[in-house]
C-alpha cells in the first residue's frame, strides 16, 4: 500500500471516529411478537411509526415464531435473566402470566410513569376478559378478535341457497347437506376447533366451561364441557363428519387453508381472518359474513375474545420502562387504535376508536369488519361468557382438540371423547394448581 493511500485511510478513520455524534443513543426496547405475513408487517409499521415520532426510544419488533414459541422464548430469556421488555402472549397464556410473578402489571406501569389511560373506554368484552378481580389490567390489549361465520356466495348459488348466512345450527346442517349434494368439497368447516366449537359455543349459549366461574374466581380444576350442551354439539358435528357435510381441517387454524382455497361453503373462524380472505378471494369468489349460529333450546350468552395482549416483563431498567409506557400511550391513542383496527381487521379496542372508525365511513367500505362488533353487541354478557382463564390453557385446548379428532374420525362417541378430554384436562389443571397452592 502506498504512503499516500495509507495517509488517506488514516485521515478518513480519524474523521469518521472523531466526528462528535450529535444524537444520544436511543434506549432500545425489545418487543417480541408472533405475527406473520400481513399482520407482521403491520406490527413493524406501528413500531416504526412510534420510533419516527420521537427520538428517545427505539422499539425493536422481533418476530419469535408462533404464539407458543414466542412465549417459550420469553420464558427462557426470563430464566436466563435477559427477558424482552414487551412480549405478545395469546389469550390462553393469561393465567400462566398472571401466576408467574414475572410481569410488571400494565396498570401499575402506567401509574408509575404518570401516563393516564382511560381504562373504562375499553370495549366491555376486552375489559372483562383481561381485568383482574380488582378491575385492573395486567396486560395491554393489542389484537382481539372473536369468531364469526363466513360463507361462500358462489357455492351457495350453485346449491340453490339464498344469499344469507345460516343463523342456527339446524340451518347450517341443512345448508351443508345441500352444498354437499351440489358437489362442494368442504360444505362446512371450522378453524380453531376448540376455541370456536367448544369454548365459544359454551359461552355463546351461557354454558359454563370450567368451574370457579371459568377460572375467574380462582384456579379452575374441572372442565364442564361434557354436559348435555357439549355432548349435543359434538354429536351433531360427529354426524356431520360421518355424513360428509363437515370437513375437519386440522387443529388450531389449519382449516383456514380450506377456506382460503375457496373450497368451503360455510366456515367459522376468527374475525381477524377477514383481511387474508379478502386478499385470497380477490377476483376468484365472493363471500359474506354473519354471526355465529345458535343451537336451539339454550339461553343467550355472548362470544368471547381471542387474540393476544402485550405483557411487560420484570427485569428491565427504569429508563427502559419509561419507554414502554410511552409506547403503550402511543398505542392507546384513539387515532392509532382506529388505524390498527382498520388495517388489521382486529376489533377496535376502545369505544372511541370504534366511533372514530364509524364516523370515517370505514365500515361502509369494509362492512364485514362490523359483523363481529354487531355480534358482540347483540349478545348478553353473563358470568359464563366473560371469558375463560385456565392455567396451562394451551395444553388443555390441545387435549380437547385431540379428542375432537377421535370423535370426528369415529373412533370414540361424543360422550366418550368429551369425558376423556375432561379427564386429561383436569389432570393438566390440577398440575398447575398444585404449583400455586
Amino acid at each position: 500500500m502506498t504512503r499516500s493511500a495509507l495517509s488517506v485511510l488514516v485521515a478518513a478513520a480519524v474523521l469518521l471516529t472523531g466526528v462528535p455524534s450529535t444524537s444520544r443513543a436511543a434506549t432500545e426496547i425489545q418487543f417480541w411478537h408472533a405475527m406473520t405475513a400481513v399482520l407482521g408487517e403491520r406490527v413493524n409499521d406501528i413500531a416504526n411509526k412510534f420510533n419516527a415520532s420521537q427520538r428517545e426510544y427505539v422499539v425493536k419488533a422481533v418476530h419469535k415464531g408462533s404464539y407458543p414459541e414466542t412465549l417459550n422464548a420469553a420464558i427462557a430469556a426470563y430464566r436466563a435473566k435477559q427477558p424482552p421488555h414487551i412480549v405478545q402472549v395469546f389469550e390462553v397464556g393469561t393465567q400462566t402470566m398472571l401466576s408467574s410473578g414475572a410481569v410488571y402489571p400494565v396498570y401499575q406501569l402506567m401509574k408509575d410513569h404518570g401516563v393516564a389511560i382511560d381504562w373504562n373506554d375499553l370495549i366491555s368484552p376486552v375489559k372483562g376478559y383481561y381485568s383482574s378481580t380488582g378491575g385492573n389490567l395486567y396486560s395491554m390489549p393489542f389484537n382481539s378478535s372473536t369468531p364469526i361465520l363466513y360463507y361462500h356466495k358462489d357455492h351457495f348459488k350453485k346449491a340453490g341457497l339464498p344469499d344469507k348466512p345460516p343463523a342456527t345450527w339446524d340451518a347450517v346442517e341443512s345448508m351443508a347437506r345441500k352444498l354437499k349434494t351440489a358437489g362442494v368439497k368442504c360444505p362446512f368447516s371450522s378453524a380453531w376447533p376448540s376455541w370456536v366449537l367448544v369454548e365459544n359455543m359454551h359461552a355463546y349459549h351461557d354454558q359454563p366451561f370450567a368451574d370457579n366461574r371459568n377460572g375467574f374466581d380462582g384456579l379452575a380444576t374441572t372442565l364442564k364441557i361434557n354436559g348435555p350442551f357439549g355432548v349435543k354439539m359434538m354429536e351433531r358435528l360427529a354426524r356431520g363428519a360421518k355424513d360428509g357435510w363437515f370437513t375437519y381441517g386440522g387443529r388450531l387454524n389449519k382449516a383456514e387453508a380450506l377456506m382460503t382455497a375457496g373450497e368451503c361453503g360455510i366456515f367459522t373462524t376468527s374475525s381477524a381472518y377477514i383481511g387474508n380472505l379478502a386478499r385470497a378471494s380477490e377476483g376468484k369468489f365472493a363471500w359474506g359474513t354473519g354471526p355465529l349460529p345458535r343451537l336451539a333450546g339454550f339461553p343467550q350468552g355472548n362470544s368471547i375474545i381471542g387474540g393476544a395482549t402485550l405483557w411487560v416483563m420484570r427485569g428491565g431498567k427504569p429508563e427502559e420502562y419509561k419507554g414502554v409506557a410511552q409506547f403503550f400511550k402511543y398505542l392507546a391513542s384513539t387515532e392509532n387504535q382506529a388505524w390498527w383496527a382498520g388495517v388489521t381487521g382486529y376489533l377496535p379496542l376502545t369505544n372511541s376508536a370504534a366511533k372514530a372508525l364509524e364516523a370515517s365511513g370505514h365500515y361502509v367500505k369494509n362492512p364485514h369488519q362490523k359483523t363481529a362488533i354487531v355480534q358482540m353487541n347483540a349478545g348478553k354478557t353473563t358470568p359464563n361468557s366473560q371469558g375463560i382463564r385456565l392455567g396451562n390453557f394451551n395444553s388443555v385446548r390441545d387435549a380437547i382438540e385431540e379428542q375432537m379428532e377421535n370423535i370426528f374420525s369415529g373412533n370414540k362417541t361424543a360422550k366418550q371423547g368429551l369425558d376423556d378430554a375432561v379427564a386429561k384436562s383436569n389432570d393438566i389443571l390440577k398440575e398447575f394448581a398444585a404449583l400455586y397452592r
Binding site: P68, E69, L71, N72, I75, Y78, R79, T96, S99, S100, G101, A102, K185, A241, T247, Y248, G249, G250, R251, K254, A257, L258, A261, E263, N392, N394, S395, D398, E402, Q403, E405, N406, F408, S409, N411, K424, I428, E431, A434, L435, Y436
Partner: protein, 293 residues
C-alpha cells in the same frame, strides 16, 4: 487389545481437553440439570420449584397415552428402519452389479440425505396436500376414499414413514454399497462355481457377511427414527391426528414447550435417555465383538 504406543505425561490430556471441556459444559451440565428437574414440579417461569421425587414418573407410567406413545415410537421406528434397510439392500445388490454408470447411479440415489427432515416434510406435505397435491389427485381416480391425514391416523403415519424412509434412503444405500464392495469377489465366484444361484448366494454368503453393516444401520436408523424425525413431525403432523404420530421425543418436547410442564418433560427425557443408553450399550458390545476379527 492394541498396545498403547506413545508415552507422554501431558500431551494426551491436552489432546482430549477441547472435547472434554465442551462435553462438560454443553452436555453434562444440561443433562444433570434435566435429571434434577425431572424430580420437581416446575412452574413455567421458574418462580415455583416443588420437589415431588418420583411424582412425574408415576404420572407418566400411569398414563395409557404414554404407553401408546412408546408403542407408536417403536412401531414407527421399526417400520422406517426395516423398510428403509430392505429397499436399500435390494437396490444396493442390484447397483453393485458390473454395469456401467454405477457411480452416476450412486450419486443420483444419495442426494436426499442432504435434505433437512423438516424441508423433506414440507415437500411431502405438499405432495400429499388434500387440495393441490398430486398424490391425492392421482388417487382420486382410483378410489373415492378420502386420504385425509388430518383425521385418519394411518394416513398420517404413512405420510411420515414415506418422508422418513425417502430421506434416509441414500445413507442406507451408501453403507450397503460400501459393504458389498468389501466382500471379496472370489468368495462369490467360488459359490457360483459350486452351483449356487444368485438368491442362494445372497442369503448364504452376502447377507451374513453384511451383518455388521446391517446391525450398524439398524441401530442408526432406529436412533434416527426415534429422535431426528422430530423436525419432520413438527413440520407436518404435530403429533396428530389424535395422538397417532406422537412419538416419544415429540411428546417430551411438546409437554415442555407448548405445555410448559418442564419437570414432567424432563422426566420423559430421562426415560428416553435410559432407552438410548440401552440401545447404544447393546450396539457397542456387539460392535466390539465384531471388530476383532
Amino acid at each position: 487389545m492394541r498396545r498403547a504406543v506413545f508415552r507422554n505425561p501431558w500431551l494426551p490430556y491436552a489432546l482430549v481437553a477441547p472435547q472434554i471441556a465442551i462435553t462438560i459444559v454443553f452436555f453434562f451440565w444440561p443433562a444433570f440439570d434435566s435429571l434434577r428437574l425431572s424430580l420437581y414440579r416446575a412452574s413455567p417461569f421458574g418462580d415455583r420449584l416443588i420437589f415431588i421425587g418420583g411424582g412425574n414418573f408415576t404420572r407418566l407410567l400411569g398414563d395409557p397415552a404414554y404407553f401408546r406413545s412408546v408403542a407408536t415410537s417403536l412401531g414407527f421406528s421399526l417400520v422406517v428402519t426395516v423398510a428403509g434397510l430392505a429397499v436399500a439392500l435390494l437396490l444396493a445388490s442390484l447397483a453393485n452389479a458390473r454395469i456401467r454408470g454405477l457411480a452416476v447411479y450412486r450419486t443420483l440415489l444419495l442426494w436426499p440425505y442432504g435434505i433437512a427432515p423438516a424441508v423433506a416434510g414440507v415437500i411431502w406435505l405438499f405432495v400429499f396436500h388434500p387440495s393441490f397435491g398430486v398424490l391425492p389427485y392421482l388417487l382420486s381416480f382410483v378410489t373415492d376414499y378420502q386420504f385425509n391425514w388430518f383425521l385418519k391416523g394411518w394416513v398420517a403415519l404413512t405420510l411420515i414413514v414415506i418422508a422418513a424412509v425417502w430421506k434416509q434412503f441414500g445413507y442406507n444405500l451408501a453403507f450397503y454399497l460400501a459393504g458389498l464392495q468389501a466382500i471379496p469377489g472370489s468368495v462369490l465366484e467360488a459359490a457360483s462355481v459350486d452351483g449356487a444361484g444368485p438368491v442362494r448366494r445372497f442369503f448364504a454368503i452376502t447377507f451374513p457377511l453384511l451383518s455388521p453393516v446391517t446391525f450398524f444401520l439398524f441401530t442408526l436408523n432406529m436412533t434416527f427414527a426415534f429422535f431426528e424425525t422430530f423436525g419432520l413431525i413438527h413440520a407436518v403432523t404435530q403429533g396428530g391426528p389424535g395422538d397417532a404420530t406422537s412419538i416419544l421425543v415429540y411428546r417430551a418436547w411438546k409437554d415442555g414447550f407448548d405445555g410448559l410442564q418442564l419437570g414432567y418433560s424432563a422426566a420423559q427425557s430421562v426415560i428416553l435417555m435410559l432407552l438410548v443408553i440401552a440401545l447404544t450399550t447393546v450396539q457397542f458390545r456387539y460392535a466390539e465383538k465384531k471388530v476383532t476379527y
